[in-house]
Amino acid sequence: MNHGRQIKHRALLLVAAAVVLTMASRWIQAETGTCGGLATTLPFTDVSTSNIFFCSIAQAYFSGLTNGTTATTYSPTQSVPREQMAAFITRTQDSALRRGSRRAAAGMWATPQHVGLVNTTNIGVGAFNCFDGTDVWVPISATGQVIRVLTSAGGLTPDIWTGATSAHNTIFAGGFIFVTGRETPGKIYKINPSSGGSTVQTVENNVGAQPVSITYDGLNLWTANNGGGPGLGSITSYNIVTGLESTFDIGFNQPAGIVFDGTHLWVVDGGDDALYRVNPANGAILETIDMDNIISDVAIPVFDGSNVWVPVSHALKVVSTSTPARLLGTLTGNGLGSNNLAAAFDGERIMVTNNSGSTVSLWKASSLTPLGNLNLGVDLFLRGVCSDGLYFWIVANNLAGPGGFIMRF
């Protein structure tokens, strides 16, 4: 090869290399398309702008629903195995719940890490509270009062209802507040929240003995009646239109909690160490899920849209409401103690009160994983808890100290 040919050969090689480099850079460059009228760049070199799913892939990437198959590839035509699908849908659910929460709109991404950050309001020795969409209602057993707490300010309203002897548990149903009177026989009190503080109306005085928990099925209130001892318990339905009540004791031993899931009732029976699925049409037990260590006095369950969470001694049981029901997990640690009393759900998280440990524990409802716990003080004897979608509201009682108060978490 003479000198001229060598130069020509090198020039050709250079041109070829330039072409290859240009092509390669074109192939591996991040793609930029238009989504919603805006230039959108993806790091994936295998998703062309002409792909009709370009903007969907961009949204999934930007929302954290996918990270691609590598840092620079999405592999758009590959099939999705079921294991990857599980990741896709759980990330989607988590993202929707997290972003759709009222806490997101309020920018409340933090969880209190110190008791000093938990707002408290003195109310007296309270029991099991509820939320009506605006305010929180707390029954005060010793005085027979029912206190209305403003959630926006954490302060009390001037409206205090009286005459609710042994007021124990509350529910907002049909536009009214209903309160159980933990007596034998049990009672149900009614409050018209627009009437201002006055004396509660006793609408039923023949409920099964010691009603400790209450729920609603769209027509009837249902109470779980502890009975005061083994074998004495029952559940009672109270029709809020007609005022008719019926008490069912067949198969029940010592009910400690009750919740309605939209179709069935779920009764926590401390005497039988069982969770019962109950037909709301006739109070009959349809299914029994064996449990252990249920606290025989009070154990307030909560439904999260899929599963029922049952606080038991030293653990938290999660039961799928599918048919047949399945025990999904027995959760321990994370601040749970020997006397876990009540659970609440805020749309994303479950909170459980540990009565003797003065601790609340948080769990991610979708994965049953622990989110941490916080000790709220010494000898606070935590009882009820409810959510307003923004905060959890916890009833605490320090009998040897300042008395009872409600805490905003």
Partner: protein, 413 residues
Amino acid sequence: MNKYQRIKHRVVMLIGAIVVLIFVSHVMRADTGTCGGASTTLPFTDVPSGNIFFCAIAEAYFSGLTNGTSPTTYSPSDTVSREQMAAFVSRTQDSALKRGNRRAALGQWWTPTSAGVLRSTAFAGPNTSYDIVCDGDDLWISRGTEVKRVDASDGKILQTWTAPTFLTAIIAAAGRIFVASTSGTSPGKIYVINPEAAPGPMTVFEDDIGAAPLQITFDGTNLWTANFTSTGVGSISRIDVATGIDSTFSAGLERPYDILWDGASLWVADGGNIADTGGLKRIDPANGSVLNHYTDVGSSPARLLFDGANIWVASRINGGNGLAVVRAVGGLRGTVLKLFSGGNLNGPVGMAFDGERVLVCNYDGNTVSLFKAADLTPLGTISTGLNSGPWAACSDGVNFWIIRINNNDIVRF
């Protein structure tokens, strides 16, 4: 094989069987891994704890998004068919909506089953309630020549605002309450309420829009009214909330009963002069012209509702007694997805959406019908009371609130 060899052989076989059994039991047992620092057990024997998707599969199982391919298998390497994909994504959507709803945080998993459980807020005076809206905190009801403000927490009447002419549609927009008003064939009006102010006579915001405005919507800049008129030459009016400049458009419109902004498109329910000329019309907000006319939505559509994907069209007038669901967005825009008729529907008028469910007021049947918005399935029909006349509804995200014209009240549902 002598006796000793046979015994030896059997012992070897027995040990082998035990080894196989131990191996099989190990392989077949449910797997336990660690997710979020907690020990997690799955019933699936084919998802080892070392699978990087172990926790995602656990979460999908615990959330009810999947039950596996059998009680003990998940088949993690199987590909997902499009039919399975539909099940996965629709369950995921359902779960997110169900848990993310404010009713979940309140533990309100019930649906009222009888008129008797509907707590009422009664009004004094003539039973002229027309429309109801929730501003995120309180309820506002237009009725005759007054507007009532009601506390959505306890149903207490908080304020009364007044106007000299008959009030129709009401909307919460731009931090204020706007109320349309009609007076025969005279130009329509819009009044405005500043929620911070003390109650009293309302301020006129606009006094020369098309006659007989029956419904109102807001596109972020402009209020839009559907002006019915009794002459059959109806119109729509556009009013810039910032400047007060208004325009009225009538081309292609006959009897607009309702108007709706879905975030991208403006829609009009046009009852038509005769049944055949009515329909659902998509409007160009730039000039008020009709872009599309869909006639297969039922006879004389009168009320509209948007659920984030679809428009629900109720038809009660001109013998119409139906409910159509029309795709509002994407490539299938304008496609009728479902046409309900008869059954428990009986005079469908006002509707409301709570993020998960659509409630339809059956004025003639004295009932409300509930539908699951995601799959259009009926959830039941519930009486609102004998001759109660449910006419309009709104949702505060927790409860539906229903105007019962004949009972002269509103009820929380």
